[in-house]
Amino acid sequence: MSVRRIWRIMPLFILAALLMAACAAPAAPSEPAASDGGEQTSEAAVSDNGCVGTIKLGAAVSETGKYAREGKDTRQGYNTWLDWVNKEYGGVKVGGDCYNVEIVYYDDEGDPDTAANLAEKLITDDEVDFLLGPYSSGLTMAASAISEKYNKIMIEGNGASESLFERGFKNLFAVLTPAGNYTQSALKALADQGATSVVIAYEDTAFPSSVGAGAQKWAEEYGLEILGVETYPKDVADVSAIMTKFRDMEPDVFVGGGHFNDALLFVRAAQELGFSPKAMVITVGPSNPKFVEEVGDAANYIIGPTQWEATMSYQDDYFGSAADYAARYEGMWGEPPTYQAAESTATALALQLAIEAAGSLDSDAVRQALNDLDVMTFYGPINFDETGKNAGKPMGAIQIQAGAINVVAPADAAVSELEYPMPAWDER
Amino acid sequence: MNPFALPTREAAAPSAPHPEAAPLLEGRNVTKFFGGLAALNSVDFAVYPNEIMGLIGPNGSGKTTLFDCLTRVQHVSAGEIYFKGVDITDYKPYQVAHLGLARTFQVIRVYKKLTVWENMLLSRQWGGLSMRKKFHTPPAETEDRARGLVSFLLLDRVMDEQAGNLSGGQQRLLEIGMALMPDPDLILLDEATSGVNPTLIEEIKDRIRTLNSQYGKAFLLVEHNIHFISDLCSRVFVLNYGQKLAEGSPDEIMENEDVIEAYFGADGGDDDDW
């Protein structure tokens, strides 16, 4: 590498630097819609409803990477609300005026660096009024640090990890039940049915760790004896060792926390090894219709916590009942809503209600309104505590019964009786 | 001007070997196995100060393996090697080089992506083994020496070329230059003349003689060119199948029945190019 070589490529370097600068330059307030570097889509279903202004929301949600599937649900959830608020509801009512809504989306690729940068880009370049959360606790962690710094409200429905709310942030609100409470309803219902012991396995990452810790807490609370706790790494391909250990402990209840893959792995390993506890509670998976589709009959009797189900008896004046929402969603996207989709819609709805209550787009007023918010929605009650968690909403529990996802707990939302105990695999 | 930019030695002695003196390089019972195959089998030999010794043998007789063992690239399976009276059997290759033993290679090993000039400079680690001095600039003496050698080896016109762009003969010359850079006491030349044009071979011969007589350098040559050997060497050592076959003056060796048998075997061969 000679001196001269550096000189030779300098024009290129400069060109690149200038281009980069140019990419970020059109952040000037005069052209908010300028299509700059990383912008991908800007969803605005504007209709002739005579609204005076536009509220600009921003969201960096995974389009690619490890959360591609959940990210898609999240987007569709936001867009369901967007479509409804602009076309049917006639814009957000702020004071006497009405505002159309626009959401600026970016793809965070499942990378926290990117999520943080995009959050910053949304705030400083796109100058959005409020931020909607990304999918997953880790990404919310990264993005919310930025919004907190700018004192911008980020409302989210897809980051349930407890550590999110232990940082004393003022601008982060989450409509979903936090991870620690995921297994509460299910364990309570099982304890009521006479279960006495439990084993717990969870993936050693942020969100499942919270679920696992919560499960231990609730198990103790309801008098279930904890026989074993196991962790496993991300992308695990074989859990047979864990299931072997658990089988020999003969627990009443198995609790598995992780991701969709892990749910499939647990069922398969239990089946193969003849591990038949009286109940299997698996945190992510069972409530997703795709789980039944993939696992088939073996899915029966499996219990899963759920943030929301279309069969729940919640309803509001906006989307109607949970079932009405599901019908609307399916009409738009051709598939039934997952709870990720519903909580995303509820996230945006909560923000809208707070804006309307505040009668202003000012962050401080809206923050106050969010803190004061106490409403019932199709998604369930929303009532934020001082840390920004939704303290009002209990976690539901579903059980797969003859291939159908039925809500079995809590009692006020249940549509079906809990079937307990689960028959052994070879006795079905 | 001194063509090699070598420091003139006080002890510059005549070129005759001193069989009674302590050997400069000595191998005792040097044995090397590759799997079950003995590439070197209990070879004893010695190179004396100021001597030019030839090492010959048919292909596959273990000459290069012996060089590799001497420079410690290969571990010997048994036996000891002494250089300047020091047991170097367990030395690392670079330590052997620092003791003053340099070599060239049958298959050319120059640093192809570095220039001729850099190749030369790098061959003399002026900082010794100290890491700190590796960041200093080369002393003038080192540069003078490199310049002298480059011009001696007729490489000055390609001094700034990448070594990989040189012709095979030029690369061989460069290798010799690199071997001479650290001012070694003993130089092992592995087929230094292959691919070099005849005029240049005469030059090299002349320079070796000069280095030997004026600067007291000892040489151990592996060669196929018998004239080169017989003109230069005072003693010749013959290896066959990893074993010492004969040792003596070039004339003696050329008349040795065993050697002729080993070389020409049944089908005879070319007298000129062994």
């Binding site: 952040a27 880009k121 | 570095l114």
Partner: protein, 347 residues
């Protein structure tokens, strides 16, 4: 084209432009304070550039072992991770301020490099690459298992401190420093020796070079700088867990960027990082669904058709001579070296 190059050379525009560029980068954030209301320089831009500088530093570090010494390290991000966790643990668990924590992280990375390097650097070619990849993955899981210290899979939350201009300047200075260091290094005997090791390690050893010592030295130097970047990244991200810190594709991206710029050249990593970083932005906006797909295709095209990278393309092989510079430069000073090279080329 020729005349342009000649003007470029004759008026020695290179150093001028280089200095102007660095100066430009140093002055870039100024409008934030001079004319804050115009919002000319957003935090997002600074953040992007900060990331760019970090990548430049990382790629230059990787290039020290991968490009110059020829040891293709597929687990280089392990030093990034150790730097991040070293600093993170000191801050989150021991409550240290950032600067001493950063030093702990960087030193830990360097020490680990010496330890692991003395084992793995004895391996050749792909075996070294794989051993380092294994080290990287093993370290990620080890960090996960050491829950009491590292917070396990839940990670560690660092006190948020999001001063973009500060990070911008720190990383800019670090990048300039590291690139300058590599530039200087290549001109020392040490640097040339590294290339010699790449070209022919056995030969170098037989010519009196203690190759092991050289390899380990450059390895820990690279690891040290990488550890610094890791610590900075952790602080800026405010949150670390094993999966975000020990991110598989981080290393391979560095390899790809360095290769695009030119393996074993000083400017290579800088150019490669800049081009790919910028390219990504374009890909994002134009090939949303497909941008990774397009990236894969680009990678193959780069590797197959420009294995020497952009630097290789720019180089006229007949006029590239390091030794000429080496000799003249060391003997006569930089300006003359530059000039004399020019005269020779024009002859």
């Amino acid at each position: 084209m020729r005349t342009l190059t000649e003007i470029w050379k004759r008026y020695k525009l290179g150093p001028l432009v280089l200095i102007l560029l660095v100066l430009f980068l140093f002055l870039l954030p100024l409008p934030r304070w001079l004319a804050p209301e115009r919002k000319l320089v957003s935090n997002s831009l600074l953040f992007s550039l900060t990331q760019l500088f970090m990548l430049v530093t990382l790629a230059s570090d990787w290039n020290m072992t991968g490009g110059f010494t020829g040891y293709i390290d597929f687990g280089h991000a392990v030093f990034f991770g150790i730097g991040a966790y070293g600093a993170g643990v000191m801050m989150a668990k021991a409550g240290w301020p950032f600067v001493p924590a950063l030093i702990v992280g960087a030193v830990a990375a360097a020490i680990f490099a010496v330890l692991i390097g003395s084992a793995t650097l004895r391996l050749k070619g792909p075996y070294f690459s794989i051993a380092m990849l294994g080290t990287f993955v093993a370290m990620r899981e080890i960090v996960r298992v050491l829950r009491p210290i590292t917070g396990g899979g839940s990670g560690l939350t660092l006190p948020p401190y999001l001063n973009r201009p500060l990070f911008y300047y720190v990383t800019l200075i670090l990048a300039v420093l590291v690139v300058a260091f590599v530039w200087w290094l290549r001109r020392t005997q040490f640097g040339a020796t590294l290339v010699a090791i790449r070209e022919d390690e056995v030969g170098a050893e037989m010519r009196g070079i203690n190759t092991t010592l050289h390899k380990i030295t450059i390895f820990w130097i690279a690891a040290f700088f990488t550890g610094i970047v890791g610590a900075l990244w952790a602080y800026q991200n405010t949150f670390i867990d094993p999966d975000v810190v020990f991110f598989e594709s981080r290393t391979i991206e560095l390899v790809m960027m360095t290769m695009l710029g030119g393996l074993g050249t000083v400017a290579g990593p800088v150019i490669g990082v800049t081009v790919i970083y910028w390219l990504r932005d374009i890909l994002w906006s134009n090939f949303l669904q497909f941008h990774l797909l397009v990236e894969g295709v680009l990678l193959i095209v780069i590797v197959l058709f420009f294995p020497e990278g952009i630097m290789g393309l720019l180089n006229d092989p007949s006029a590239t001579s390091l030794g000429r510079l080496w000799g003249r430069y060391l003997g006569e000073g930089p300006k003359d070296a530059y000039q004399s090279t020019e005269t020779e080329t024009s002859v």
